[in-house]
Structure formats: structure tokens, C-alpha cells
Symmetry: none
Subunit: 121 residues, 4 copies
Amino acid sequence: MADFDPNIPIYFQIINAIKQKIVAGLIKPGERLPSVREYAEELSVNPNTVQRAYQELEREGITETKRGMGSFITENESLIPSIRKEMAKSLTRTFIKGMTALSFTKQEILQELANQLEESK
Amino acid sequence: MADFDPNIPIYFQIINAIKQKIVAGLIKPGERLPSVREYAEELSVNPNTVQRAYQELEREGITETKRGMGSFITENESLIPSIRKEMAKSLTRTFIKGMTALSFTKQEILQELANQLEESK
Amino acid sequence: MADFDPNIPIYFQIINAIKQKIVAGLIKPGERLPSVREYAEELSVNPNTVQRAYQELEREGITETKRGMGSFITENESLIPSIRKEMAKSLTRTFIKGMTALSFTKQEILQELANQLEESK
Amino acid sequence: MADFDPNIPIYFQIINAIKQKIVAGLIKPGERLPSVREYAEELSVNPNTVQRAYQELEREGITETKRGMGSFITENESLIPSIRKEMAKSLTRTFIKGMTALSFTKQEILQELANQLEESK
DNA sequence: GTGGTCTAGACCACG
DNA sequence: GTGGTCTAGACCACC
């Protein structure tokens, strides 16, 4: 089901995939994530890698994990919007950084985005 | 002589600096870049690091290396803008894809970009 | 029926609850503890977890298990206070050692403890 | 040089050891920590374990690590006192928790500490 | 040589 | 069965 961009740490891509699923409503607060081993197998990845992703998610307060029980999405009203905002900010920052490195001006960045948004209409 | 952001690979920052100079017309097609050693000293950086940057530039088709002569900006005038355009397109596509996955509308995407461009002013 | 702190192993909280009841005289030496199944149901907890707690209590010499009869608080009246004292001593020694390594003076150690005891009031 | 308490994660003990060394002035801000491999060998521990400790230290802002260069103690005026405070708090919390579990009252905890401080005079 | 990530596989704590 | 830690050893990115 998944193939990973070899330039980005797998654990990081797992984190983002889960965050996206939460934002999209595919996983709901309170719900349990697949077990480390289960998910590792599904993704054809080492359990340690999934473990690391889950750990990071917990550190960010997105999940709570209970020994012997599994990891659960935090039940928190503001969770989803805050993840959405954070991811949007990160995406935008990356985009701006990349474009700036190509010495695009702010005007040109906006222009390029507008163009491509049109195209994909 | 130059300050580097410690969070970004130095070689990458060197690449960008050179690209910017090219786009800005400070270095012209056909012109020779400083030697690896020269440049490394100027930047107080390990020669390997400059070497790596030059290598990458060549891989991207932006420069050509002639044995014993040094690295030269590619003569093909149209090559550089076309590379730039391609990279911009790719960056933008990635950005749009990510934001769409977070169910942002086109309006919101533009808005978010505009906001963050303002902030980083 | 009981609320558990999700950050502390449940079996550990059960142990402490029992110890406290003993010290408080709510359970007397020689008395029988509830059966594992009974207690597990009362606490809405996995029987294994209660089992684990009982095991640990026995290991500490606080209870004695008789096959087919259940777990009993040890008859030796003086045993419990002596265990308690030993554990307290050990805890205190560890604490002092750690604080001393941070070059706290005796005064400061007492102060820090007093402060934090206040806070958690 | 080191042997580890088997009940506490090794990476955690490494973190604490380094923090203590910083507080004690044995390692100074700006100074470089041993490389992951070096330290791993010295401690007879797997490099991954040291790596994890270093990573955590960086996450806490205590070190900064530069690829290909090593990990360095953060140069920050308030670093040492803040570590000292944090560790003291943690030690004290652990102590209180343990004593409370043995159903010591606040008075008794203070008493026990005072006694043992006297003894070790 | 240095840190960062990953796999493979093991053992333990917990429920 | 589930998460947490650890070892052994590999490969890559960076300096």
C-alpha cells in the first residue's frame, strides 16, 4: 500500500501519513492505531521504524500509548485543527524556502502558484 | 566570510548561493568558478564540501568541469532558465498536493502562502 | 471501581493500595486477600495484573501464598514495619546521593523537599 | 568505568551521567562530546544506545549536533542552572512518590530525610 | 571519521 | 499480544 520516498526518513513519512489520516477523518480521536508489529508488516518495514514514528507522535501529544494495549489518538477537541495548521505551515515553509533558493521573488512565487492552481482546475 | 545556517547542509547552501549569482547575472554562462581550494578558503570551509557542491551543480547540468581547467557555467543560455522552471514546477506541485491532502481549498492555499510570505518579510 | 494513573503500571498501583491498607490497619496480619479473580473483577482489571501484584507482594515478604487457599498477609507483625523502614532508607539514600552529585548542600536539599511537598499539597 | 542499573534504560542513565558532568563542570559549554562510536565503545554499549541518548539531549536543547562534526554542549548562560533545577525536581519527585507509596506522611518524609542527612555528616 | 537511518532479531514489562 | 529497550551490523549524508 505504501512506497516511500527514499530521500525522506521512513519514520517521518509514517508520521505524516498518520497525521494526514487524522486530518482527513480516516482515523478518529480515541481510535487505536495498528500495533507496531502489525503496521510494520503492512508497510513492509522494520517494527523499530514504526515504533519510532509512534514514539514521536506521542511526544507531540497526538497519541497516547498504553503498554500492552496499543497507541490511541488523543481525545482533544483542538487536535485536528492544530495538526492541520502545523502541517500547512510546514509545507508552506518548505515551498517558500525552495522557491527562494531558486531566487524567485515573492510576487513570482504567488504567480507560479496561481498558475498551477489554474491548470489543475 | 559567509554565515551558514547550521540546520542546512553547507554544500547545499553553497549550491544555492552559486545558483543565485547565476540567476542574478553576477556569474555569466561560460565563466569559470573559483577553484575548489580557493573557494573553500574564502568560505572557511572544508574543500570536500565545496567539491561536493561543484559535483552536484555539474550533475544538474548547470556547470561543466574540464579536467585541470576548473568548473565553468554551462554555455547553453536556455538551459538554466529551463532547469529553474522545471524545479519550480515540481516544488509547486508538491506543495499543492500536500495542501490538498489536508483539504485546503485553492483560496485557502493562496491565503496561507500570502500570510507566510508576509511574516518572513 | 478504582481510577488508575495511566502513567504508572497498574500492578504497581495495586501493590501500593494494598500496602497502604495494611499500614492503615484496614487489613490485618494473617488476613486473607481477595482472590485474584474476585479482585480483578472489582477493579475492572485483567486478572494477570492482579496476579502480578500478588506475586510481587509475596516476593517482598509482605504476603504468603498457600496453594488453593489464597494469599495471606504475613503473620510476622514486625516484618512489615521493618520492610517499610528498609525501603524508606534506601529511597532516602538514593535521593541524597543524587542531590549531592548536583552539589546541593544539606540545607538546600531539605529546602527543595519542603518546597515540593508544599506544591503537591 | 560505568556499570548500569539494569532496571533503568541505559540511554536514560547516559543522559543523566552527561547532565551531571555538565552541572559538575566536568564538561563545559561549547565542548564536544565523544563521538557516538567512541563513547559506545568506552561504555561497552551499542552505538545506537548512545545515539539515542545524544538525540534526546539535543531535543532538550542541551546539545547541538553537527553532521560530520559531533555533538557540542550548548553555549547558553542559563543552561547549567536550568539542568540543575530540572534534575533536582525530578529526583525530589521520585523520592516523594516512593515515600508516599509507603504511606509516609509529609512530616515523616521530612523527618526521615533530616535523620539520614545527620547520620552521613 | 561523524552523525542519521534502517533492518533483523532478541528479551523484558505489562495487560 | 503489545509496547520498550537493546544489540549487531549495514548504508548513507556530510565534513
